[in-house]
Subunit: 150 residues, 12 copies
């Protein structure tokens, strides 16, 4: 049974209340519920967490080895500044998918650079709350394809 | 019935033969076949084209008004240099999804900047040939969600 | 009899339909009609064309030698990226006037740099559709003044 | 009754002991005492906290909605690097005043850029420990003026 | 009756004597005479002034409110450095046309950036002394067109 | 008796009439009246002046030696370009407080750099017209604290 | 029998007429004749083409696989801007020699950067029309040496 | 008896398991054991800790005053981004040695800049796990030499 | 009889009182006296002026044509920002010598760039108040040498 | 009889032993032998030298005036840093051909900039040891063509 | 018996006399004596040399092949500019340790970049004269460890 | 008796023969003769040398301690690249005057940066061959003034 770890970073606990005209009215809890339903329908599990602490995200990624087959990571603003997250992803050796609600490159210039993109296998951005579901479905397909080609 | 226009830019006709260790062995024709099957299963149509000519891509985008509900665009190397494509997307007023086989930001530095990202609603990158299918499914969902919320 | 070549580049065929709140409702065909009327009233001719293909614009400029006395060029987005257009203008040896509907320097930062300005004798920008007419009148005066001073 | 949240970031717990020739001999506890006295004299309250953890500051800002009317934020070194703090301030929707003991722009070059200034309504810097009091008084006046003009 | 204010900045009093091979032999007084004749033929007036003092130009622009319908501004070298002129133009709320004798972008690199272009409605450059006349005619047409469309 | 010199630079004479939605409706004369009242209540005097001329501001600063105990300087757009003002402040040897109505760092990118901040002891920005009063009160306190600690 | 593909890009059809003091009086047709003679004397063939269209050059390069042993490419102004040409060269997997009539690095600064150099095995520049012949001879030797060392 | 504080930052808990071909197979626990043995043989003590939390590292450094004679700091990825660590080191007033397993300057460009190097007295990098021991030995010698020269 | 114009820019009226440890105790009046004595001994005259107003300096330079044989210019802080001074020097067509008391390139980074150096024939910097005398003597010799070589 | 000077710079004495997988197994002595044979067959002479000392290369170039008709220069790593070599080439007034074994632009970024290219008439790079022979043949042809056209 | 080559570059012959407050009072001869004693105690030899000539250093490094097991290199100011040294180290194929007395990254900005670090196996900096001894001891250990692991 | 060391760097032995339209027809030997005559008339001596070798210049500067009172240094192209010369000047502790025949800042962009200016007390540039004499006279005066003020 496939296990996916879904991590969300700083300020994402505000989803559904913060700037709804930009981010929509869906809460993070509702997203997590939908992800669990999708996983179940695929015979998989998904473990969903959120933290405003970079160190906590680093701990979770490091501890995922042997506990998960892939990571969905919406690192929020840490996306643009954290080399430590980059190193953690590279170190744990699991395929990681970068996820964003909006399309960061269509926003301010300082959101153009992603520190983690170079160590991620794929990226999904701009579908609003649906980005998480799109990414989960795609990564499960990706894992199937990888294993078949081995 | 939803109509999607799927455009691929320079050198993508080489898919499946060019550097297979990077881009895989699936040809563009096979991708187009899969997209048409997916569209049919969703009660939609997809019109798939490729050109090495920037001017031809500009013509196709301009002519899409009233002929398509959304555009999937893998602009290849033009992604990083063409302001004209950006203007065409903005001018035609259709939702456009940026698509890439690989994760360009994980490659050379000059592939970090996307000229078209700021006028696209979403991006899918890094799932190999599957990026097209992921993007098609996601944009059809996105169109449903948009219409429901109107 | 003076002959002027008036070239318009990518996406300008959309004039009058694309973002009318920015570019106005006049179509390129209407502009061409007005230019021909102005030219006739001055005892001159003007040959008006548009293409989305950089290569086609290059062909037209190269073929203008001996066929035109001056060029009006609204290169659209190619203004900011095309060194080939710059070389073509320099190579053909005809006076070229850079024309824009809007004032590009008052828009996004990447529209600040004009690749062709350094090889043009003059620039007219920001008068909307009237920019073409202002430029045509000015270049005809400029040709008269140049010949008188010889 | 107005409620102000006053947050101090990394290393500010060292105030009064760290480099007193630069930062003076007043401790953060003494500053907090003075702020509470000033608030009381204005019929307001101020809640003063310090943390070396970016995540903790993010939590406090997010939780301030409905609990405070304005935020005084001395983000210390995070001022120059934290996009997450910027997002948190923007997300919570409360007026935020940037506060500094010294005048960072008069110090090293890397202290010239403030990541949070673009989302703050005002800034007070360079009055030493008094910067906090100046900012508290000014923001209370600012809130009065805002409400009068509504 | 339309009133236009025509301002020229530093070193333009040298026109006709300074580097005539670049700027021609027409003096600024002769240009001013021609502008007044053109204005009269259009039933308008033009008030022409020159100063080497940035502060004086700022005073004149600020005082133009209610005294002029549009401003022609050849800011000379201040074009590239003066944020104060930019603020003055924005503050006075009148349409301003940027004018240059030569084509600055075809000269040294530091003349590529115009500080005032982003707050001007249009630009005319490169027609020598005739640039002033071209701009005056164009702005009078522009004012007519604007009023008609209201 | 403490004497403070309050200088305002280019375009600030337009206050209350220029873009009131950004700068408010208070005029500079009203600000000066308030400053004089505050000073009187503190047993101090304040000398308030405005000029659009950088040279005049330089003269005033140089002449302040022995005539003032501190300077409040709202240099307007000169803030971002004038090294001469920086040198004048450094040369006169008086404490200088940088004052702004708005928060420049929250506006265009070219307003991020302050040429004078490195030679000022403090900064107050973003409280609208109240910024002047906040700065005057703070600098009087700062002078008291400085003298007590000597 | 060795087969070489010799491609020339934008504006090179003007050779012999454009700026002869820079590029000489030899036409591209004369160069092509000389190349064919040289190839024949070496028991090889050379296929010479020119286009102002980037897309046409891309088509030709992609179609060269299995049809040519090496490519001589004078990309003209596209040298400095076209990532698509770079990708095409890399994709087709044939040795490519960069050719220039003049020495671009001895000209304007924007001609210093070659987008295609990093994927070419060699470069010949600055010998005027003779650069083509020098490159053809050298690449035939290079192919011989490569095959001998296998 | 000399006391040394040895701090390791983000992801270093993965040592010995993460990318062993780059970092070797020695675990951080084994390094800590070796450091304690070396310290004992020198009549010193070493207190070894690791955290993924920047705030925790800041707390530990601030608390080291009076508790340690020197600090060995392998800040991992925080090396390149954390101004807060720099301020903490400067504030605590203890000699700090920058330690790295690999040679960061021989890796990606973004690892060239060390935020903490300017406030450290020395650096040891590139000896693999042995870097810690080399640094501990050297700093004990350094402390001896410093005290002798006093 | 040779006539030299010696101009000093912003803040130089403070000489001898401003930061004497950097600029020495000689006043500008004393420098002017020495220059007049040196000129007289050489059978020449020198006209010495100072202004804090860029516009006044521009007026003086423009009016120097036919009134002076050479210009000594210590533009102070305007050295680094004024393109208008550069244009004035170029326009008046007189040899200009850049003069500085200190060695600006040995100070802050923003004093590295001289806007006027590219249009000056020579530079003298770093000899303190003596820089003026060194420059005056050198330019008189230079004028003699130039006339002899004609 | 034509005389060519062939100079090789730092580390090229290691050819054939240093990184043979990059530079091949031919030694510099063998290259020199081949060059002398080629020159003889053309009725010319070639003088071949190598030095690790920039000063020695400068001496040789300066002394070449009247002793050689052209210079082949493989400046090795000095290519990217030595302005002195550039000045020497410009000063001696002989045509200089830049030669490289590999294609430097296809290697590290710091090898992209050639300090000497702007003063060389031509460049040959990337043919391995054969680059020297290609350059010698081409420059002899170039000298013939130049003399014929005189 | 291990043989180490210890090279010191420009100005290091001044050690002990140049700026002793920065570099200490130990001379290079004393350092060399200490190194020889340390080497002897380890059953090794060290050959110590110094030169101000980049070319001489290049000669010594090239000649070290087969004559030394490792190189200690304090390249002084050449560290920041010499690509030739980098190439020499890479070419000779011996392990090289970068050595500095001070910590260059804690000094001026132009000392941040080391041209040779990317080709060195390790770096020791900031221990004053002791840096040499630390490096020698460490590299002998490193050689032992390398050989044991083979 | 004052002793001055006058050093000239790369390519200056070509003076009088290299590009005489830029550098004049005076040879370096003639300049040296004039300097010796000037020195004698002032009761001083001057030791004049030239080398194309950076290392030789470094040796001469280091050996000047106790042998000279000041150094005149025309470092030629090394001016822009040599940090080693900068360190040598700083290390020897003698006042150094930067000398240039032309005005380097009025030439190519890469001659704008002087590596040695920040450690020189003064600069003389642009008087042609007379620059040496002007600098010698000025430095002798400067030494007198320095000693008088002690």
């Amino acid at each position: 049974m496939r296990r996916v770890l879904c991590l969300s970073g700083p300020n994402l606990q505000l989803l559904g209340t913060r700037e709804p005209e930009v981010y929509g009215r869906t809460t993070l809890a509702e997203i997590h519920d939908e992800l669990r339903a999708v996983a179940e329908s695929r015979g998989a599990t998904v473990d969903c967490r959120q933290s405003n602490h970079e160190g906590t995200l680093l701990d979770w990624i490091a501890d995922a080895r042997g506990q998960a087959d892939a990571i969905l990571l919406n690192a929020g603003a840490f996306t643009h500044t954290s080399i430590a997250l980059r190193d953690a992803i590279k170190g744990v050796g699991l395929p990681c998918i970068e996820v964003h609600l909006s399309n960061p490159e269509a926003r301010e210039a300082f959101r153009r650079r992603s520190r983690i993109a170079p160590v991620c296998v794929a990226k999904v951005a701009g579908f609003g709350a649906a980005s998480y579901r799109v990414a989960l479905t795609a990564v499960l397909d990706w894992l199937d394809a990888r294993d078949e080609s081995r």
